[in-house]
């Protein structure tokens, strides 16, 4: 999506450790006008998938998920990052390794909000190694729901998470897919037409 690529080029900052800082518009300060357009594009991409729930994880994916869900006219469910690991029969729960924070947390969704009759679209702001999406996919599978696919605003393609999911036949859409980046340039991957 050219609009997002241009914004990354103008306002994104590449920091050491493969970090792309886009806090000024995507995930600490939110340019809601931009995110509404991104959400609309995600809805357009999955318009034919008969999605019944948009699933995301707190916190920075929520706004994008909400705008996509508003266009698709379905609810958003967000997984909570829970401090404890105590098992409960009332939640779907899975451990997720955080690449950013170098730790493991538990993600949990109350069972009442996800069921075998759901067709799930997973939405997040970022896709890098794919740990968060993998966790949300495990929760979707545990619920017995159908996975329509995953959509993210920004994919750092060189970290491999997205392609690993695609190789397993999962539909993954990135509105901006970065092939490589340095503090001097950011190169996007575009599908061959």
């Amino acid at each position: 999506m050219e609009l997002l690529e241009k914004r990354i080029l103008s306002d994104g900052v590449v920091l050491p450790g493969n970090v792309l800082k886009v806090g000024s518009f995507l995930n600490q300060q939110i340019d809601v006008e931009l995110l509404a357009l991104l959400g609309g594009e995600i809805a357009r991409l999955f318009r034919e998938s008969r999605v019944t729930k948009v699933l995301t994880i707190e916190a920075s994916g929520i706004a994008l998920a909400a705008f996509a869900a508003a266009e698709l006219r379905v609810p958003v469910v967000f997984a909570k990052k829970t401090p404890s690991s105590n098992q409960s029969s009332e939640v779907f729960r899975t451990p997720i390794v955080s690449y950013t924070h170098k730790n493991t947390y538990m993600a949990a969704v109350a069972k009442e909000y996800l069921s075998a009759s759901d067709r799930v679209l997973i939405v997040d702001d970022f896709l890098a190694t794919g740990e968060a999406l993998e966790g949300l996919i495990r929760i979707t599978e545990e619920a017995g729901a159908f996975l329509a696919g995953c959509a993210v605003a920004v994919e750092k393609g060189f970290q491999g998470g997205g392609d690993s999911l695609r190789r397993r036949g999962i539909r993954v859409e990135a509105l901006a897919l970065i092939d490589r980046m340095t503090d001097r340039e950011i190169v996007f991957r575009h599908e061959k037409v």
Copy 2:
């Protein structure tokens, strides 16, 4: 707001310990159509306040804040709940006591996203004892920004946080203000016309 009051009466569940569970539509599963309407109502209430930023705190306030900000055509900034308390000169940071979780966490906003020229509307899903709003107000004051007011979806009036803020002259708008609740009834407060 009658729409929200009706939804609370039909789908809200009062649990022991003054807990109102509205996870099915407000803060774990999000009814985006409802939240878009609530956000629109918040924008209407503050239309004359020349708001430049909507400030909220992760995670469950983000969707409502985003819909309100979309109507007001201003960015959302959300405070992060940070695990550590190390001081940084680059963030506004304040401790917040969590009534729900019985602990204290640090809330932080990067200084680059809030400045003395901002007119801030604070948005959250819930207002009970007011600790979260008080923290966001401290951050707003630390930034030297003007506080236009606070807006929440649900205020539990009997816990006193909202009235305490109002007594200090702060504008606080609750789309549903609960005066008292038991497992048998929920009674809303309405302003005398």
